[in-house]
């Protein structure tokens, strides 16, 4: 075991903070100690390839980073690193593959989610075209979940601006038969039988771009967030609309109370408070930039009854920034770190749950996803 604690040496001490950044031209890793005042940047990893999904998995004694990479020419794959990106072991074969009989071909992976601690080799991947894949060997091999692959609605799911992607995976923390996913477009789907069958769960979610504004499915849901302390309660950032469900997605209710725009992409729970959620509103679907060119994170601390702008340290003039659906994240430190990346290649972070912000990185390629973790769990 190396004695140094350095991202450049592929070794980080317990309590270190990790930010994984995926961009249109590669991945970057930012590392800091628990104070989160100074950061070391490594990368680009996979230069020239887009990275829309990253994950960090510490189950079963691993210290594994997973990156979903997409080459413009050679397709998409999931690659692991056990030394924080110092080296990557790409699989020979492309492991996320649709069966030939499906008629589908993988475009890219949009989400990688490690499963629960008591099932340490279980992982999920959300992909484009919209489907859920499952791995039983910690990401070495993947199989599609048949209940979604063969869903009767599939012919009517339509791609949003980013493609027909399954981007959100929300497993129920106490019941392994239950899971919720979201796709653009298609909306929210829920299984109660371990993935065998899936029902659309979009009641109350508006589809502004369809003649029928409240269809059973077809909504362009951008992100869903939940906290394990209150698993039946969900928050949803829609393509126009902010919603909350208190009944595990049976019904949704508008909670866009006091935000400058209810259009946006990303949504993140506070790691320790199930009433606190973060969003970054965008002006509109026709102008997907910060409203009034002021970069503001909005936070609710009362489960959507009210939202407050967080601006301290964020640019409030000429900030034509865009934050996409997976570019907002949180670490698990006691004083929660909140981080986000922009399409202009900036990374902002807060060490105090959003009260104060600092620019951590600049001039990266356009940011697609940001994931944070504390090495060794909570410290």
């Amino acid at each position: 075991m190396p004695s140094t604690s350095s991202i450049n040496d592929g070794n980080l001490a317990p309590g270190s903070t990790l930010i994984l950044v995926g961009t249109t031209k590669g991945a970057f890793v930012l590392a800091s100690d628990a104070s989160r005042q100074a950061w070391t940047l490594t990368g680009p990893h996979f230069p020239g390839e887009s990275v829309y999904a990253l994950a960090y998995d510490e189950r079963n004694g691993r210290r594994r980073t997973l990156a979903a990479t997409r080459s413009f020419h050679w397709g998409s794959t999931v690659r692991p690193s056990d030394d924080f990106g110092k080296s990557w072991t790409g699989p020979e074969r492309q492991t996320v593959r649709f069966p030939e009989a499906s008629g589908l071909s993988l475009v890219q992976v949009w989400q990688i989610l490690p499963g629960p601690a008591d099932d340490p080799d279980l992982m999920w991947a959300g992909v484009e075209p919209a489907c859920l894949f499952e791995s039983r060997d910690a990401g070495e091999s993947w199989t599609p979940v048949d209940g979604l692959l063969n869903h009767e609605h599939r012919p009517k799911w339509q791609p949003g601006g980013g493609g027909l992607c399954l981007h959100t995976i929300v497993p129920h923390p106490h019941d392994k038969q239950r899971m919720l996913i979201a796709m653009s477009t298609g909306g929210v789907y829920r299984t109660e039988d371990g993935g065998k069958s899936w029902r659309a769960r979009n009641h109350g979610v508006r589809a502004e771009f369809l003649p029928d504004k409240y269809p059973e499915f077809g909504q362009c849901v951008h992100k869903v967030a939940s906290h394990p302390a209150k698993p039946e309660r969900l928050f949803l950032q829609n393509h126009w609309g902010l919603y909350r469900s208190d009944d595990w997605a049976d019904t949704w209710h508008d909670v866009a109370n006091g935000v400058p725009s209810d259009f946006g992409f990303c949504m993140q729970m506070h790691p320790h408070d199930p009433d606190t959620v973060y969003i970054v509103p965008m002006q509109s679907d026709q102008f997907r930039c910060a409203p009034d060119a002021k970069l503001r994170v909005y936070r609710t601390r009362d489960a959507g009854a009210s939202w407050e702008p967080l601006t301290n340290g964020l640019p409030q003039e000429q900030a034509y920034e865009t934050v996409v659906r997976d570019a907002l994240t949180a670490d698990s430190h006691k004083s929660a770190g909140i981080y986000f990346g922009t399409r202009t290649g900036k990374i902002f972070g807060s060490r105090d749950a959003g009260d104060h912000w600092m620019e951590i990185a600049d001039s990266l390629p356009p940011v697609c996803c940001v994931k944070a973790a504390v090495v060794g769990g909570n410290h």
Binding site: H73, W74, E100, G103, L104, L106
Partner: protein, 93 residues
């Protein structure tokens, strides 16, 4: 019948470091040649063809100096001694 397949540098790592693969078995078409290649080096064809056996959108295969996109696609017929060249399109990174 000998067919040669010239691989781009990006795929050498999936071809045990080689840059030209010679096929001695009968390969009447480009699809047949790529199927023979898949039997030897499946990691290479993973990156050239989709799960549906279609040429990836930004990968080009030439027979001699002509792209199969302007011939009969993967059904383009091969003559003895043909050379296939796999190259990434000008798009990218």
């Amino acid at each position: 019948m000998a067919i040669s397949i010239v691989l781009p540098r990006a795929l050498h790592q999936y071809a045990r470091g080689t840059n030209v693969v010679s096929l001695d078995e009968p390969c009447p078409t480009v699809a047949d040649a790529l199927a023979s290649l898949a039997a030897r080096l499946p990691a290479v064809t993973d990156r050239v063809l989709t799960e549906q056996g279609e040429l990836r959108p930004h990968v080009n295969v030439f027979v001699g100096t002509e792209s199969v996109r302007f011939l009969d696609g993967l059904e383009t017929e091969l003559a003895d001694g043909s050379t296939l060249t796999i190259v990434p399109a000008v798009s990218g990174g």
